[in-house]
């Protein structure tokens, strides 16, 4: 079980790194997917090793997948919008939060 959790932790860290450093929004979204997957691995692992009966973990993993899909859809729609408006999707440009 430790190995699975360790795998998830590493995957999560890598995803985190991607989120923090990617310049391309699509890259950030992809890294986010990695983090979601890390969480999912944890869910399924706990489902297998901890829960005595039932499939709660898997059900939750399923929910996470659905949420991730929704997130990707909306995220990419925003990406397209940003791309059309700024002619670029680098995060450096989108610093409206500064003002």
């Amino acid at each position: 079980m430790f190995y699975y959790l360790a795998l998830a932790a590493l995957l999560f860290s890598i995803g985190l790194y991607g989120v923090l450093t990617r310049r391309n929004i699509i890259g950030i979204l992809m890294s986010l997917e990695l983090m979601f997957n890390a969480a999912n691995i944890n869910f399924v692992t706990f489902n297998k090793f901890v829960i005595t009966d039932g499939m709660t973990g898997q059900v939750f993993a399923l929910f996470v997948i659905a949420v991730a899909a929704a997130e990707a859809v909306v995220g990419l729609a925003i990406v397209l919008l940003v791309y059309r408006n700024w002619q670029g999707i680098k995060t450096d440009y989108i610093n409206v939060m500064k003002w």
Binding site: L81, R84, N85, Q87
Partner: protein, 367 residues
């Protein structure tokens, strides 16, 4: 959201693209799949036919004109011969005129059959192409029987035709007419009410009549826009005024109408051929014309209704045995010119359908 900018995208269609019917190059500016701008580039098939003609005698020009528009080379033969006859005031025998009409109309049917197959193929249905060519084969066989050629006939000469038709011609021709009549029902059944065909064609590529007239578009494309203009009726040449036929005309000006007009024309041509076969007189087939005849100095323009619109030849003579200046006009050229003005706004697939429905043939454009 305000103004959104989209990235435009330039694609070269051709010169070796399957749906350009030869070697035409269209530079498309695309917005996604939508066509924003069309720029046609021509000249890939330029052979300088007009210039070469200036160094040939009139009789020698006719084989060159075979290659002017090779899908209907009978018409090309005829148009030059008619111009030369007009210039030199040569009387053509009755039987020759009848034979010419039969050949012209057969060739028109052959051309429209190719159109039928090619259009269907451009829209994705592969089978009609072979159907169209199968019936065209009957006509080509007739030509072969008459003049020994299957594509470039060199049959119609100055002052008449080169050979008389063989005995087998008339029964074979009648049989072919019968078969084509029967097969036309098949064609219509295959496509006319096919929902996908309708979806792809109806309302696509609307060419308004005024734009068509402004750009000098002629032939089936013009008639599909609701202009009932056919040189066979409006400016009768040869002996067309003797035959009873209707001018096919449709009002909507979209791809579907252009397709229907051509099918209608096939039917009308069949009628003309039947009448011509019935009234075919006996007699000579060629007036006596010297091979090196010298027409008097002057200029002349003749025009006929080809399957792709008005085809004309302008001849200028200085009294020598060679023409001083030859200028040919083909319908395809004008149809290609108007394409950028009404072909934009649709999708790429629409453009292919429109291009197919115009039935442009590149050698006629480039000469």
């Amino acid at each position: 959201m305000g103004e959104l900018k989209t990235q435009e995208f330039i694609v070269n269609v051709g010169p070796h693209h399957p749906s350009t019917h030869g070697v035409c190059r269209l530079m498309l500016t695309l917005d996604g799949e939508k066509v924003v701008k069309i720029v046609p580039f021509i000249g890939y098939l330029h052979r300088a036919i007009e210039k070469i003609c200036e160094n040939r005698t009139y009789a020698q020009c006719i084989p060159l004109f075979d290659r002017f528009e090779y899908v209907t080379s009978m018409s090309c033969n005829y148009i030059f011969a008619a111009a030369a006859e007009k210039l030199a005031a040569i009387e053509v025998p009755e039987r020759a005129e009848y034979l010419r009409v039969i050949m012209l109309e057969l060739n028109r049917i052959a051309s429209h059959l190719i159109f039928y197959g090619v259009t269907a193929m451009d829209i994705g249905a592969l089978t009609p192409f072979l159907y169209g060519l199968r019936e065209r084969e009957l006509i080509i066989d007739l030509f072969e029987m008459t003049c020994g050629q299957r594509l470039t006939y060199n049959y119609i000469r100055v002052g008449g035709v080169s050979k008389d038709i063989p005995e087998q011609f008339i029964p074979d021709c009648r049989k072919a007419i019968k078969i084509i009549r029967r097969k036309l029902v098949d064609y219509e059944g295959l496509l006319n009410e096919n929902p996908i065909w309708l979806k792809r064609n109806v309302g696509v590529g609307y060419l308004p009549a005024d734009l068509a007239i402004a750009y000098g578009v002629s032939g089936p494309v013009l008639r599909a826009s609701g202009v009932k203009y056919d040189l066979r009726k409006d400016d009768p040449y040869s002996i067309y005024d003797r035959f009873d036929f209707e001018v096919a005309c449709r009002p909507n000006g979209d791809c579907y109408d252009r397709y229907l007009v051509r099918l209608d024309e096939i039917k009308q041509s069949l009628r003309i051929i039947e009448q011509a076969l019935d009234g075919l007189p006996e007699g000579p087939i060629k007036a006596k014309v010297s091979p090196n005849f010298k027409p008097p100095a002057g200029e002349v323009y003749t025009r006929i209704e080809n399957s792709r619109g008005e085809m004309g030849v302008y001849l200028q003579s200085d009294g020598g045995k060679k023409p001083l200046r030859v200028k040919a006009r083909g319908g395809s050229y004008n149809q290609l010119q108007v394409l950028p003005y009404f072909g934009t706004g649709g999708l790429v697939a629409d453009l292919v359908a429109i291009f197919a429905s115009l039935d442009v043939i590149m050698p006629e454009v480039d000469r």
